[in-house]
């Protein structure tokens, strides 16, 4: 005779050995291991202040014959706390979904029942296969001022609990983040970055229910974000980027008229365009191009390797010197 027995953490549990008399000689095992007689009161097994580790299979055998007289699976757990329920429409105006979870585990099986009422009308929330703690509802009406009332009840063998959400159709609208965010430098523009993105694929009709967007960006070296709100279009050019600095960029979306902002999109990184560094001419190359004659020495024309105003890469030192000085030094040697 085998069954499952559910007990609360901290409870005192008494197990009877089936129909055996109190004074019968029995042996109890837990998961195949003999239980010490100190836990017995006659043929009854006494477990005080049970904890989770005491879950398992308990078996009772008649003393001499070792016939199995009773078997139970003890599951130690807790009654459910108030569940956490969330409802959201990421595909307005098609419908909305509700998802839930327990704030703390119960360690025993739970069942969930959800009811949705719109005015006086019961609506069916169809459970998703994956994930299991979610169901979805199609809007049968739009633009209703009547609130939706969603009640989630969680039940397990040790108790039950519930929570209720009441909301307006438009209050739970929250799109998914924009997709395919791309940021690119703009050629020959050291302070610009071109950002583009797409509407979330879950938003069914962006033409009739347009989204607006919020873009944020900052250089990696700074903590403060710049923000731009865009009422239409799925692209934007940043024009005030710091030259040469890598940026992190994200976009969020919201229905133009109702609801709340989506979460931020996946972050993308981009660095504005920078000019290619110019080649530096070496001292040896300058020496090769000048005349080597000592009898008819002619001072070569002065060659400046670089102008003062030129920038040769970032971090490189600009070196300006006159080749004539070097040749003058050679001239002195040969006189």
């Amino acid at each position: 005779d085998s069954h499952v027995q559910y007990e609360r953490v901290g409870a005192d549990v008494t197990m009877k050995c089936g129909s055996m008399d109190w004074d019968a000689a029995v042996t109890w095992t837990a998961n195949g291991t003999d239980i010490d007689e100190s836990h017995l009161n006659g043929s009854y097994l006494i477990l005080k202040n049970v904890d989770l580790s005491q879950s398992g299979q308990y078996s009772c055998y008649e003393g001499s014959s070792w016939h199995l007289k009773y078997q139970t699976y003890l599951r130690v757990g807790t009654p459910p706390k108030e569940p956490v329920l969330m409802c959201r429409s990421n595909n307005y105006p098609k419908g909305f979904y509700c998802s839930w979870h327990l704030p703390t585990p119960t360690y025993i099986p739970n069942s969930f029942n959800i009811s949705v009422i719109h005015g006086t009308k019961d609506m069916v929330c169809e459970k998703d296969a994956i994930p299991k703690n979610r169901c979805h509802i199609r809007y049968l009406q739009l633009f209703s001022t009547v609130k939706y009332k969603v009640t989630l009840t969680v039940t397990n063998p040790l108790g039950k609990n519930f929570t209720t959400l009441t909301f307006d159709e438009f209050a739970i609208v929250k799109p998914d983040p924009p997709e395919s965010v791309v940021a690119k430098p703009v050629p020959n523009n050291p302070r610009r970055l071109e950002v583009s993105w797409q509407n979330p694929s879950s938003w069914p009709d962006p033409e009739s229910f347009p989204l607006k967007f919020f873009l944020r960006y900052r250089p990696l070296i700074l903590d403060q974000w710049q923000h731009v709100e865009l009422s239409d279009g799925t692209s934007h050019t940043i024009t005030d980027a710091y030259a040469g600095k890598e940026y992190i960029i994200q976009v969020a979306a919201k229905d133009n008229d109702i609801g709340t902002w989506s979460d931020w999109s996946v972050a993308v990184h981009a660095t504005p365009w920078t000019e290619e560094p110019k080649h530096l001419t070496t001292e040896a190359q300058i020496a090769e191009t000048t005349s080597a004659s000592t009898s008819s020495f002619m001072a070569p024309p002065t060659t400046k390797i670089c102008d003062k105003g030129a920038v040769v890469g970032s971090g490189a030192m600009a070196v300006c010197w006159t080749a004539g000085l070097v040749m003058a030094a050679y001239s002195v040697l040969f006189i």
């Binding site: 105006p93 739009l142 209703s144 001022t145 009547v146 609130k147 033409e207 009739s208 008229d257 109702i258």
Partner: protein, 198 residues
């Protein structure tokens, strides 16, 4: 698309765009008015108000299947009703409070003006499509509009709450309806926005 470039299509898009802006502004003002009304009247903002006779409900089933004409006609009927309801609210407000709450009265009057303007805008859209503009029921009566039922002060306040809530939803619905109407038509005679069949 040839239909999208025709003068009437361009005019329709223009009227729809202006209508969307009107409706958007109206919605924002109604939202502010609703907040002020709830506070001034001492109402619970979360109070549920049952549907009342004469208050047009914005809720609609199969909204996406409506034709353009249906959208315009339902919108027009609603805003004409709101015009009468807001006028009565304004009258009741003056009777109850006199000059004590001129701010609320002014806000009501401003919204009433916007509702009237929007109703006229809808009539323009209907005219554009050579649709007959339905006469207002009140004008057909020789003795004027039928009197609205006399309510207690509390009932008046609740009805006012219901009126403003539905008007806010209608303003939102009108924005969506006009966006549908503004969509370019695939070919003349088969306009999804204003065809008689979905």
């Amino acid at each position: 698309m040839a239909a999208a470039d025709s003068p009437s299509a361009a005019l329709r898009r223009d009227l729809c765009s202006r209508g969307i802006r009107l409706a958007g502004k109206m919605r924002a003002d109604v939202a502010d008015l609703l907040d002020a009304y709830v506070e001034q009247q001492g109402l619970d903002p979360s109070a549920s108000v049952a549907a009342m006779d004469g208050v047009p409900l914005a809720a609609v089933e199969r909204w996406d299947e409506q034709t353009g004409t249906q959208r315009l006609l339902e919108n027009l009927a609603a805003y004409r009703a709101f015009r009468a309801l807001l006028a009565q609210m304004l009258e009741e407000q003056r009777e109850q409070l006199g000059e004590a709450d001129a701010g609320l009265g002014r806000a009501l009057a401003a919204v009433l003006l916007q509702v009237s303007a929007f109703a006229y805008h809808l009539e323009e859209l209907l005219r554009l499509e050579s649709r007959g503009i339905p006469g207002e029921e009140e004008e057909e009566e020789e003795d004027g509009p039928p009197p609205l039922p006399r309510l207690s002060l509390f009932e008046q306040k609740l009805r006012g709450l219901g009126v403003l809530r539905e008007l806010a939803q209608w303003a939102l619905r009108s924005v969506r309806d006009l966006r549908q109407l503004a969509k370019p038509s695939p070919a003349p005679g088969t306009a999804p926005g204003l065809a008689d069949s979905p």
